[in-house]
């Protein structure tokens, strides 16, 4: 009895304390006033955050009766944070994310179907192949607005010095065979002390070796899959009954085999960079240890910031095969299913994605807009910093086939990432890799498609 009284007192204390603690929040809005719609942005570079905040302020000035509150999110944590917020019914109203993160939220009923809300201007402005990246089960759950092709950032001096290497253009990119040959040509064996002019330089590692390419493949799956689209590789295929299955055909194997052979056969790719992220390879690139680094288009900002004075670099298109395409997972804007004022939220999204505003966002993030009108902006077509090369590639960017497949994140983390890492380092062969990606992978997908 005494114990029950004690527990009861403790419970009462908790209940009594709740309003006091709730008062600490200070978050209560005046009753009767409309709460602002919350826009959670993942902008993280200073210029990009500034552009987003300025656009929100502009919207609020023009639409005082439909205010929007800017909320800062972060890329590394957005999935967990949104998942919990959706489950708890406390999600932001307007959500910035990447299209490859949307599938589970869309199928889970957490995102609003935007099909009937989209203004005609926006629908017409963004090409059909971009819309596909935010479409799941025939419904639009995310408006794709920024995208990033993978390009080759090359050391201009080394490229110019290699007489046998043709400089590729967006209209005439390297084939994968040409790329492999160019990487070999740009490599230099150890022991030499100088460059072709006989001058001693730092264009080598400690053993006097220079690599044609450095593949930063700490997260190898999306890079491999997106580039594989250029050779017609899809890996994820839809059967007649709508179910997804994994195949690893000849077209899927071209890109992985090229990387593997560059590291393990030609010696033209640095083995040590396989475990690195893109930023980690930059010091070696600046020092001339690697002639080329395949990176996302937005890495140019880091290069501009960090490259030593006088370092000459250029942006080249990624190699292509028969299909001349590349997979991307654009950044998207979605509206939460629980948002009470979806039309207003869409009006804000449409404002944010007006061509002029899309250009501001693209410049802030060093990425490409998806909108055709924005892509015509002269500021995105200058040669400086490779903008023109990137803009010319915009038409080749397509939805990555894997992103709409449920179970892809698990396959990626548990099977494909370790499998590709082992294959690229030479620990396993192609047959073993194929077995893991396909047989183990289809078992994973089967669980999601029962």
């Amino acid at each position: 009895m005494r114990r029950r009284t004690f527990l009861g007192a403790a419970a009462s204390l908790g209940v009594a304390a709740a309003p006091v603690l709730a008062g600490c929040s200070g978050g209560g809005k005046a009753s009767g006033s409309r709460r602002p719609l919350r826009f959670q942005s993942l902008a993280w570079q200073a210029e990009s955050v500034r552009a987003n905040k300025a656009l929100v302020a502009e919207w609020n000035r023009l639409h005082p009766r439909s205010p929007v509150e800017y909320v800062q999110g972060a890329w590394p944590t957005v999935h967990d944070q949104l998942l919990t917020a959706f489950e708890g019914g406390e999600a932001p109203d307007i959500i910035h994310d990447a299209s490859d993160d949307l599938a589970d939220f869309a199928y889970g009923g957490h995102l609003a179907d935007l099909t009937g809300l989209l203004p005609d201007r926006l629908t017409a402005d963004i090409p059909e192949h971009s819309w596909r990246t935010g479409t799941f089960g025939g419904r639009v759950y995310g408006v794709p607005f920024l995208q990033e092709p993978r390009v080759l950032i090359a050391n201009r001096k080394l490229l110019r010095a290699a007489s046998g290497v043709r400089v590729p253009t967006p209209e005439d990119p390297w084939s994968w065979e040409e790329f492999r040959a160019a990487a070999k040509e740009l490599s230099r064996e150890g022991g030499g002390g100088g460059d072709r002019d006989g001058r001693r330089d730092r264009d080598t590692d400690g053993n006097g070796r220079r690599y044609g390419v450095a593949w930063p493949l700490k997260e190898p799956v999306s890079a491999t899959l997106n580039l594989a689209l250029s050779t017609g590789g899809r890996l994820f295929h839809r059967r007649a009954d709508g179910r997804a299955e994994i195949r690893f055909d000849a077209a899927d194997q071209v890109v992985p085999r090229t990387v593997h052979d560059q590291v393990n056969v030609d010696g033209s790719a640095a083995r040590t960079t396989l475990g690195m992220g893109g930023s980690d390879t930059l010091p070696g690139f600046f020092a001339g240890r690697y002639a080329m680094v395949p990176l996302g288009f937005s890495y140019r900002q880091q290069i501009v910031q960090q490259a030593p004075e006088g370092f000459a670099w250029t942006v080249l298109p990624a190699p292509t095969g028969s299909a001349h395409a590349q997979g991307v997972s654009p950044q998207t804007l979605s509206i939460a299913a629980d948002c009470p004022r979806k039309e207003e939220a869409m009006a804000f999204v449409a404002f944010l994605l007006r061509p002029a505003n899309m250009v501001r966002l693209a410049l802030g993030d060093w990425m490409l807009p998806t909108g055709t009108a924005a892509l015509r902006d002269p500021r995105l077509r200058v040669r400086k910093y490779g903008w023109a090369t990137g803009t010319a590639l915009a038409g080749t960017l397509h939805a990555a086939p894997a992103q709409s497949v449920r179970g892809y994140p698990e396959w990626k983390d548990k099977i494909a990432t370790p499998g590709l890492q082992e294959y690229y380092s030479g620990a396993i062969g192609l047959a073993e890799l194929r077995g893991r990606l396909v047989e183990d992978g289809n078992l994973v997908l089967a669980r999601y498609q029962r």
């Binding site: 209940v15 709740a18 309003p19 006091v20 603690l21 709730a22 008062g23 600490c24 929040s25 978050g27 919350r38 993942l42 993280w44 570079q45 200073a46 955050v49 509150e69 800017y70 909320v71 800062q72 972060a74 890329w75 590394p76 944590t77 967990d80 944070q81 919990t84 917020a85 489950e87 708890g88 019914g89 406390e90 932001p92 990447a98 730092r202 700490k218 997260e219 992220g277 893109g278 930023s279 930059l282 010091p283 070696g284 600046f286 020092a287 240890r289 996302g296 937005s298 890495y299 880091q302 910031q305 960090q306 490259a307 030593p308 004075e309």
Partner: protein, 281 residues
């Protein structure tokens, strides 16, 4: 005799060397953070990184403050961490006393539960906790976060304090009782002063745990003006591990300072407290 003295000196020198090595091991990441925070972008991209920046700059600190509400987030972290630390010792001290002095089956079960509770991963509790706090309107509230930190740190605080209470000889309390002191007087005048180092160490543990905590703060706080420092630090990170390294290092350096200062100020008390807790009777 001389040989023995020589061996002792050599052993002591070895100990000091090992200690120095350990200190260096602990210090290196901090020194690297310090160095990075003062480097301009071009030095961050150098293939030959140096410990001492060639052209030290405060630009990273300026960028940190310009880009993110660092001071406000530090104040939020401080409020939640200090609140959790104070509440943790207020709640845990009497409980620890009961567990240490009254060795009943219930006390043993409670101690076992404390140990087991340390094994629960955050992801297991986060959604139920979120719903629970939502029901009492404590989501997006620093008060709610403080409460969570209190609950999260309580088992370990209790475990720590129980050890400290056991280290206080029961004979001292019995002597006070013989001298005519009542239960409350004995606790306040005899036990509490002897427990003080343990209480300080426990409060510090609760403070640091809450100060560094990230996941609860990320999930439970929605309003930008309530975000804590670890959450704000992630705003310097982009997709696929890209980072605005200079400002991130500057912000991370600032985030480590309160813990270091706190340790520096009360380290004597902590050392005393830890030693007291380690003594068995």
């Amino acid at each position: 005799m001389t040989a023995r003295r020589g061996r002792t000196a050599a052993a002591r020198a070895g100990q000091y060397l090992a200690l120095l090595g350990y200190l260096l091991f602990l210090l290196l990441p901090f020194l690297w953070l310090l160095s990075t925070a003062f480097k301009p972008p071009r030095e961050l991209g150098s293939i030959d990184p140096t410990w001492i920046p060639h052209e030290p700059t405060l630009a990273n600190f300026r960028a940190t403050f310009d880009e993110q509400p660092l001071l406000r987030s530090a104040a939020n972290s401080l409020a939640a961490a200090a609140g959790a630390a104070v509440l943790a010792v207020v709640v845990a001290t009497p409980m620890a006393y009961v567990l240490a002095r009254f060795r009943t089956r219930m006390a043993r079960a409670a101690t076992g539960w404390v140990v087991v509770s340390q094994a629960f991963p955050l992801v297991l509790v986060i959604i139920p906790l979120f719903l629970l706090l939502k029901a009492v309107h404590l989501v997006d509230s620093l008060g709610g976060l403080t409460l969570v930190y209190l609950v999260w740190s309580l088992p370990f605080a209790l475990w720590m304090l129980t050890g400290y209470v056991r280290a206080v000889p029961a004979e001292l309390e019995e002597a006070a009782a013989v001298d005519g002191a009542g239960r409350v007087r004995t606790l306040v005048s005899v036990t509490a002063p002897l427990l003080m180092p343990g209480i300080v160490a426990t409060a510090l543990f609760a403070f640091i745990t809450a100060w560094n905590e990230f996941f609860f703060a990320l999930v439970l706080l929605k309003s930008p003006e309530k975000q804590t420092m670890p959450v704000v630090l992630t705003h310097f990170l982009g997709a696929e591990g890209v980072a605005d390294l200079g400002p991130l290092a500057a912000a991370a350096l600032l985030a480590t300072l309160p813990g270091l200062v706190l340790f520096a100020v009360i380290q004597r008390r902590i050392t005393g407290g830890m030693l007291a807790g380690a003594v068995k009777h």
